[in-house]
């Protein structure tokens, strides 16, 4: 079918740039849009074009936004003394969903991974230093992932921030809510035990 139309073929190839989309699903998506939902397709194309053209990085926290400085950074109601450092913009969404954090963010856009050649420069450390010089927070919350690379990143950041006299804390990790100890891997369980709290 796609042999009859170079345009459809082009669309199918373009859709495959999405994660998890193989040739079969790309073909299904293309025909769905063309046969059943042209309006939706047009809207998709327009918002995609607009987003690609306008969305960049926030000057202050590096998250994705079309504004020069994002909504969280400009919100006067946010606590200016707390800075939460995360790996990706989606981590901001996850933390916002909890509703208990009212401070500001900084997005690294990755984590230190020496074996992949990702060092301090690549995760925006110069921008972070700039950020803490202009608006020094009282506390930095290191919310990198609980992977070995995430831990190494948190350690690196804590050394760096402490040398600038900023208090650092690390998010706790342990047993998930609603989980059963029997099914938790021993690695996580030992973290939970080591980080236990006095009641």
């Amino acid at each position: 079918m796609s042999a009859t139309s170079p345009l459809i073929k082009q669309l199918i190839t373009a859709l495959r740039c999405l994660p998890g989309v193989g040739p079969k699903s790309a073909q299904r998506m293309a025909f769905y849009l063309l046969q059943r939902n042209r309006g939706g397709g047009r809207q998709l194309a327009e918002s995609l074009q607009e987003a690609i053209a306008n969305v960049g990085n926030c000057k202050s926290c590096r998250t994705l936004t079309e504004l020069e400085v994002c909504g969280i950074c400009t919100n006067p109601g946010r606590d200016q003394t707390q800075l939460c450092i995360v790996e990706t913009p989606t981590d901001i969404n996850a933390i916002e969903m909890t509703g208990i954090y009212r401070g500001l963010y900084f997005v690294l856009m990755g984590h230190l991974s020496p074996l992949d050649g990702i060092g301090p420069e690549q995760i925006g450390i110069p921008a972070l230093l700039q950020r803490i010089k202009t608006h020094p927070p009282k506390e930095a919350i290191l919310a990198t992932n609980p992977t070995v690379e995430g831990e190494a990143t948190a350690h690196y950041l804590s050394e760096l921030l402490k040398s600038h006299h900023i208090q650092c804390s690390r998010i706790a990790h342990g047993v998930p809510m609603g989980g059963e100890l029997e099914y938790v891997d021993s690695n996580t369980l030992s973290h939970a035990l080591l980080g236990r709290e006095t009641l």
Binding site: G20, P120, L129, V148, H155, S163, D185, N187
Partner: protein, 239 residues
């Protein structure tokens, strides 16, 4: 390459990277097969694998394959993970980077594997890591066949003596120099060289040993620097 198959092979994860949407390419360091690359299909969605596909966790691995890249079928924990925190974690990454850079795939080094475990064990304990790292570097060079000849001078059997100084030439060995030349970066005291040879280092010899190991390793590593070394330099880069 013939079909290879391993069942419950003891090993460690040296490094992982994302592959396709849900899989990982994992570099294993195993006891009997050395460095083995495996693909862990669907690993990023498998909760039971996530805690195990991390460095410094002793694991049993089962995999097979014909091509360069093996398929991981199963992974199980094989003991207590080595808890490396802070600077020790960077030291652990340094070990892994050395192994990734210097070991050939499917080239077994069971002795080195045992020494890697021993090194992790010592890093996980409180105390200075310098001595542990230097010893690992020395044994790594020995195992790879680039062991340093530290007991006699280059191309001769004149013994190294404690009170003299020697210039280290990576391709040749040690050449005796006059005592005035001892400040040069590639000149070492006989005392240090013998201490390294006997694996009997004290605090005083550690800085010179580090210098010696860097010279010897840089020969093998070539122009591409080790990235983990950059991370050790935090206090300098923060100013």
């Amino acid at each position: 390459m013939n079909k290879l198959q391993a069942e419950l092979e003891p090993g460690f994860i040296l490094h992982t990277r994302a592959y396709r949407d849900t899989s990982l390419i994992v570099e294993l360091f195993t006891q009997e097969y050395g460095r083995v690359p495996v693909v862990a299909r669907g690993a990023r969605g498998r909760k039971s694998w996530q805690g195990l596909l991390q460095p410094f966790v002793p694991v049993f691995t089962s995999w097979s394959g014909k091509e360069e890249l093996m398929s991981l079928h199963n992974i199980e924990q094989n003991g207590i993970p080595y808890w490396l925190a802070g600077r020790k974690l960077l030291s652990g990454f340094y070990l892994n980077e050395l192994l990734m850079r210097l070991l050939h795939r499917f080239d077994p080094h069971p002795e080195l594997f045992n020494h890697y475990i021993e090194t992790l064990k010592q890093l996980a304990q409180p105390g200075e890591e310098e001595y542990v790292l230097r010893l690992f570097e020395k044994r790594l060079l020995d195992e790879l066949g680039y062991g340093l000849v530290l007991q006699h001078e280059a191309l001769s059997d004149i013994a190294i003596e404690e009170q003299f100084y020697y210039r280290f030439e990576p391709q040749q060995g040690l050449i005796k120099v006059s005592n005035e030349a001892h400040l040069a970066p590639n000149v070492f005291a006989g005392k240090v060289l013998l201490a390294v040879a006997h694996e009997n280092l004290t605090e005083a010899e550690l800085p010179a040993t580090k210098r010696l190991m860097r010279l010897a390793l840089s020969e093998l590593l070539g122009d591409k620097p080790l990235r983990t070394r950059e991370l050790f330099a935090v206090p300098i880069s923060s100013n």
